[in-house]
């Protein structure tokens, strides 16, 4: 366990080196969030009665989405891992006395945390200063904040477990690009990135919530805004745990089988 922890710290420190890139990225984050809010503002002013969630909740949702973008965005792939599987450099990793799947997991989680840690603070601070209902507001009850934190941890695990499944499948595919492209598109559509899930039409919405993508950003952001009431928290978080277990099992088995099958060429 200690080796994963130190590996985790190493990746975190490496990620924190790129401060200027993170600063540059933040300016766009503010504009994206602002434009999104201006857009929903137009809808809200015209048809407030057809809004599936409150404007204040929606604003909080949008700002949190911008703040934690790098934490859950599926397009944040670990290209080093993909390359190592494609080129066979993964064989070096096999020489180490650690389990490869756990190491990939530690690495993915660490990189995501490092990227998000830098970006989120200014977005969170500035957006909470905006006037109501356009700014970020804390949930009324501390309990909602508690379940938000817990489900955010689960979200990171779901996202990483899904990514690892894709890396594991790279052992079997010559070109994982198609799978990656499709995954990102599905995650955008079903995960609540293009529009928050409450805005989706009936049928599609229920379906989206059951997919692994629906267990990503959708759950913690809506628990925070109390759009999903506390009483339903055990159910949605149970589904998150289900997907974590399923995805990790599938990814782990595929990695083991892929490694056993793999023939390393060259010397």
């Amino acid at each position: 366990m200690r080796q994963y922890w130190s590996f985790f710290k190493m990746r975190l420190m490496a990620g924190l080196q790129y401060r200027s890139a993170a600063l540059a990225g933040m300016s766009t984050q503010f504009v994206w969030g602002g434009m999104e809010i201006l857009l929903y503002r137009a809808f809200w002013l015209e048809h407030p009665e057809r809004f599936p969630m409150g404007m204040e909740a929606l604003s909080s949702y949008i700002w949190l989405q911008q703040a934690f973008l790098t934490l859950f965005a599926l397009w944040n792939w670990e290209h080093d891992i993909l390359e190592s599987v494609k080129t066979g450099a993964v064989s070096y990793e096999l020489l180490r006395p650690t389990d490869i799947y756990s190491m990939w997991m530690a690495r993915s989680v660490a990189n995501r945390l490092a990227r998000a840690a830098l970006r989120m603070v200014p977005v969170l601070v500035v957006s909470s200063l905006l006037p109501s209902p356009w700014g970020l507001r804390l949930p009324a009850s501390p309990a909602a904040f508690g379940v938000f934190l817990l489900s955010a941890v689960l979200m990171v695990l779901v996202v990483c477990a899904y990514s690892l499944l894709v890396y594991a499948l790279t052992f079997y595919l010559t070109d994982p690009n198609g799978l990656m492209v499709l995954s990102v598109a599905c995650a955008d559509l079903l995960g609540g990135a293009i529009v928050p899930l409450p805005f989706l039409p009936d049928g599609l919405r229920q379906f989206a919530q059951l997919t692994p993508f629906g267990s990503m950003q959708n759950v913690p952001l809506r628990l925070f805004t109390e759009d999903i009431p506390l009483s339903q928290a055990p159910a949605v978080m149970g589904l998150q745990v289900f997907w974590i277990v399923t995805l990790i099992t599938a990814g782990y088995l595929l990695t083991q089988k892929g490694l056993r099958r793999a023939v390393i060429l060259g010397g």
């Binding site: 890139a21 766009t28 070109d175 293009i194 529009v195």
Partner: protein, 257 residues
């Protein structure tokens, strides 16, 4: 021109060498913009209309922006990678050749996968034109053509500025993405939806509203006829862009080696 076509066919052939990977990147590009449009469809299903616009009108609006930006991206991709051309001192080599500099930069890199998006925009346009969003007249058809072509022109100007900045900073500035990738996302609604300040910025600073919001008012019968000519005015934007390019080239000192 013949030289340009020759370069185009080279880039196209080199992309086709890895056929599967080419089609996958086409698919990826199209899926991203399809998702953007789906968000409009879902919201329209719930709200029916926004600011008096209906779904067919909004799809016309997005098709215009999509066509403009993808056309510009197909051909001006070389500008996107200009930072690399500079830092690897390839620019010196270009300066030695007896052809206009900008022309050569454009020929350095093209992005054939973007044609997939042009195709997508064409399909959306067909559908929107046929859906009765606009009572078509010859003038209106002309205005629509102007909107697309001048839109591509404005985007070209934005890419040019993005490239010129690297003369001074050597690195592309991520904040400029706001005007490069942003409109492809937020151009799904007429810019007036986002409120006055945004509309003013996009009318007078980066004149994207002149190729989208204002002429659309004319097409939908909500504004006077001269709104339809505003796309031509948007081309004035290319003058400062061109000047910046000249200043940049003059400022250029080789990275040398």
């Amino acid at each position: 021109m013949r030289l340009y076509l020759k370069f185009l066919s080279i880039h196209f052939r080199s992309a086709m060498t890895y056929r599967a990977s080419f089609f996958l990147s086409c698919l990826g590009q199209v899926l991203i913009t399809t998702n953007v449009f789906l968000s409009v469809v879902f919201l329209m299903e719930r709200f029916d209309s926004i600011g008096g616009y209906t779904l067919p009108q909004l799809s016309l609006c997005y098709a215009v922006i999509l066509a403009g930006t993808s056309l510009a991206e197909c051909f001006a991709r070389g500008l996107d990678a200009f930072g690399r051309i500079l830092s690897q001192a390839q620019f010196d080599r270009l300066m030695l050749r007896p052809r206009p500099l900008l022309f050569q930069v454009l020929c350095q890199d093209m992005k054939p996968a973007m044609f997939a998006r042009v195709l997508q925009a064409a399909v959306m346009l067909m559908w929107a034109i046929g859906s009765g969003a606009v009572a078509w007249t010859p003038q209106k058809a002309l205005v629509l053509t102007l909107m697309i072509l001048c839109g591509a022109g404005v985007f070209f100007g934005v890419f040019l500025i993005n490239a010129c900045v690297t003369f001074f900073t050597l690195e592309h500035i991520e904040a400029l993405n706001i005007f490069m990738d942003g409109p492809r996302e937020y151009g799904k609604y007429p810019f007036g939806i986002y409120g006055k300040p945004v509309l003013l910025i996009l009318t007078f600073l980066v004149p994207l509203a002149l190729v989208q919001h204002w002429p659309l008012q004319f097409l939908f019968g909500r504004g006077p006829g001269w709104y339809g000519l505003l796309p031509l005015a948007a081309l004035l934007f290319l003058i400062p862009c061109g000047l910046l390019w000249r200043v940049g080239v003059r400022h250029y000192r080789s990275t040398g080696s």
